[in-house]
């Protein structure tokens, strides 16, 4: 078992069987991650001491007779999730030196399942962005082409798994922040139903939409990780107090009897020809596995972006009010407390965060509240109703995860063109549905020379994670697209070494 390229399932099996120790895995991964991440930039903070400590703990528990679902699995954690004693920055200057005093429930559960923390990953500042470029603290590159973006906002978490510097990772998804970077980085990214995974210790962006979920290189590993992360948590009053269904042991290999909805309004003719062809082929592959393809309508999906860009900034402007220089993070002095607030926030927040705070403050301000915020909340009801109607005709909806493969750095200078990247993921988020992106082939981007990965988005009714991961598993098993692309040679130092 070679830990850099092995699956989480293989690693956990070998560690539980005592064929290899968690400590040995940690000692293999630590220098590998250091060498590769110089090129990739997936991490903001590496935690080798903590990784060794957890490896010792895992080895002791296994020696005592326990079996752990993620025993010795190297895991990366998005830097908007608290890990006690470790810098937790949200990739923002305002939290650049903040050390978390407690651990997020999802992270605690991951570590309790035996995962080994490699470090904290880069992201768009406060999870606002679709390319990773909004980080104030680092530049993460796409493991499949270092000249391209990894996607965002969970940029480093997707790049780390795609670039083989983590086996699994955690991300958070508000409007597509797990699914879009997963598509760009050739990995599986899974956003569970809103409320399935506790948000306690996740630094809030838009509380009615934020959801934690896993990245992995296989659907099965994503399922194993989700099983560890999920479940009710009394510390998060919005975490769903419903029975938790594990998924990893319940994946399926065919799609017989499954009705897959293809959305009329998401015509592939809107996409670049190579991209459209890949999605047409993906839908055909679903049918070959026994699925019945049915056309469904989501007439209000086109209002998703507008709805989202009122609701999410409104919630963001409220949530980020807590960063005022008083209790934690950066402070810039001022003559009085008001000036201190204004200067601190001006110096601490980057442009996209400021933009969204301004949008949200405007949408919530007196005189505009009904026209913008309430209207958007009503639009959200209509969008969720459309999905409910569609699911009367199908079991799962298939669509692109993003409107193009990964683009080059600085390619989207206009904020709205960046927002459009999440056209397919945002309506699903507004409806709170479980949804994932699974590798579905590749296309050469406009102006590019090498093929870049694409992701198929699958979305299913609320709380049907087990079924959803099962469909994705059947598709992955039949197509095995992820293995057809090779990451940049810098993600394999032994190969780069061999070329010299």
């Amino acid at each position: 078992m070679e830990p850099v390229h092995a699956s989480a399932r293989e690693i956990a099996r070998a560690v539980n069987a005592r064929e290899v120790s968690a400590a040995e895995i940690a000692e293999t991964m630590i220098p590998h991650v250091r060498a590769v991440d110089e090129h990739l930039g997936a991490y903001l903070t590496l935690t080798p001491d903590l990784m060794r400590e957890h490896a010792r703990r895992v080895d002791a528990r296994i020696a005592a007779g326990e079996s752990l679902p993620l025993a010795g699995v190297p895991a990366a954690i998005k830097d908007n999730m608290c890990l006690a004693g470790t810098r937790t920055t949200c990739a923002s200057k305002i939290l650049a030196d903040w050390v978390a005093p407690y651990t997020a429930t999802a992270v605690a559960r991951l570590l309790d399942a035996g995962a080994l923390p490699i470090g904290k990953t880069n992201m768009d500042e406060f999870a606002m962005g679709s390319s990773g470029e909004n980080s104030a603290l680092g530049k993460t590159k796409n493991p499949y082409d270092l000249d391209r973006v990894p996607g965002g906002s969970s940029a480093g978490s997707a790049a780390a798994v795609g670039g083989f510097v983590a086996t699994i990772s955690t991300g958070s998804d508000t409007g597509g922040s797990i699914r879009e970077p997963a598509a760009f980085c050739n990995v599986v990214g899974f956003k569970p139903t809103y409320g399935r995974v506790s948000r306690y210790g996740l630094i809030a962006f838009a509380s009615s939409l934020d959801q934690i979920g896993p990245f992995a290189r296989t659907v099965e590993d994503a399922a194993l990780t989700y099983d560890a992360l999920g479940g009710h948590d009394p510390m998060d009053a919005t975490s769903a107090d419903v029975a938790f269904e594990t998924t990893a042991g319940h994946l399926r290999d065919d799609l017989r009897g499954v009705r897959v909805g293809i959305v009329r309004e998401f015509a592939t003719s809107d996409l670049a020809p190579g991209v459209a062809a890949a999605y047409e082929a993906a839908y055909a592959d679903l049918a070959k596995l026994g699925a019945e393809l049915v056309e469904v309508e989501l007439p209000t999906a086109k209002y998703g972006l507008s709805t989202y860009y009122l609701i999410a900034p409104a919630e963001c402007s409220s949530n980020l009010a807590r960063f005022d220089g008083v209790r934690y993070g950066l402070r810039v002095d001022g003559a009085d407390v008001g000036e201190m607030y204004e200067k601190t926030r001006a110096a601490g927040f980057g442009p996209e965060v400021k933009r969204r705070i301004l949008i949200g403050t405007y949408a919530l301000s007196s005189g505009y509240y009904d026209a913008y915020y309430v209207k958007a909340q009503k639009a959200r009801t209509r969008i969720a109703d459309d999905f409910r109607r569609a699911f009367a005709k199908c079991d799962v909806i298939a669509s692109p995860a993003a409107s193009s493969p990964a683009f080059t750095f600085n390619a989207k200078s206009d904020p709205y063109s960046m927002y459009l990247m999440d056209y397919y993921t945002i309506p699903v988020s507004l409806a709170g549905l479980p949804s994932l992106s699974v590798p579905c082939g590749s296309a050469v981007p406009d102006g590019g020379t090498r093929p870049m990965p694409l992701g198929l988005q699958l979305a299913s009714p609320l709380f049907t994670e087990r079924a959803l991961l099962g469909y994705a598993h059947a598709y992955e098993r039949a197509t095995r697209h992820a293995g057809k692309l090779a990451p940049d040679p810098h993600c394999h130092p032994e190969l780069v070494e061999g070329q010299r």
Partner: protein
């Protein structure tokens, strides 16, 4: 509504954000551009529709009114930019008279 000029300075004041003149100009134009896009929502009939604040059914959540452990005082204060005697020190809040 989207054609109306937005008082970006006023919005920034509400948001407690100090912005330079350049930023006022730039964010103002971007905000107006976004509001033009979201204007499409006017085309969506929501007359008989309830607002959705959150998609999953929620009810009031309570717990027994008993003491549970919380973070130690010094752990909480460790992240404060200017702690003093176990408190958060801030610049003066009350303006001087005159």
């Amino acid at each position: 509504m989207a054609t109306e000029r937005i008082d970006v300075r006023g919005v920034a004041r509400l948001a407690r954000l100090a912005l330079s003149d350049d930023e006022i100009e730039r964010y103002g134009a971007q905000l107006e551009d976004l509001l033009k896009h979201v204007d499409d929502l006017k085309g969506l009939d929501t007359s008989d529709v309830a607002a959705t604040a959150q998609v999953i059914e929620s009810r009031n959540v309570t717990r027994p009114d008993t003491l549970v452990p919380c973070l130690p005082h010094e752990t909480v204060m460790a992240g404060a930019p200017q702690p003093q005697h176990g408190f958060f020190r801030v610049p003066k809040i009350i303006a001087e008279e005159g």
